[in-house]
Amino acid sequence: MSPRAALRLTHFGFTQVYDYVPGKSDWMAAGLPREGRSAQIPNAGDLARADVATCRYRSSATEALESMHANGVNFCVAVDRDSVVVGMVYRDEAQNADGRTVEEVMRRGPTTIRASEPLEPLTARMTRADVDAILVTTPEGRLLGLLDRHHAEAHIHPG
């Protein structure tokens, strides 16, 4: 639809016309600002906590432990220089790393979801899979935050 619109505009003499082909599904998946009725209903991106412990996957496992300690958690998300998620590191595994890098001890390819994910079906799937938290990323895999299932359920069913 948008290519036809762009073509029509050029016929009307508009000379600087661009078509954002990935469109609003791409925009919403990246957790960018939205308006309209559905914007009143929180999605995964709205409730994801951005203050997640992270570490570079090329850094030492010791640095990963420091990140966990600073954030008071038992895991951290391994990312590349563009904040793209590449793995997860857990305290037990990092503590026995003996000078190895994060890349050598991390669990590769954690499950991620996009920011536009509706909460109710998502939390139902998480419950069935016995998953308490899940990473939220952009379509390119950049970390947006961590969604806690219980936090999400509290929003769906307040009180």
Binding site: M1, S2, P3, R4, A5, A6, L7, R8, L9, T10, F12, G13, F14, T15, Q16, V17, Y18, D19, Y20, V21, P22, G23, K24, S25, D26, W27, M28, A30, L32, P33, R34, E35, G36, R37, S38, A39
Partner: protein, 67 residues
Amino acid sequence: VFERIERAEVQRLVEAGAQLVEVLPRGEYDHEHIAGARHIPLRELDARAPRELDRGELVIVYCHDFL
């Protein structure tokens, strides 16, 4: 002639004042749209675009996705 554009460039150009237009039907726009986007459905574009959009400024159109 028009060009395709990606998300990061859309953000940059909109911040610089580009006109962002959703061309889907009213119901889809009302349900959810990109913050700040104006709405001209495709079927009304011929009648409204020359009146409502500035030919001298950059225009970015979008719909739902590439499917």
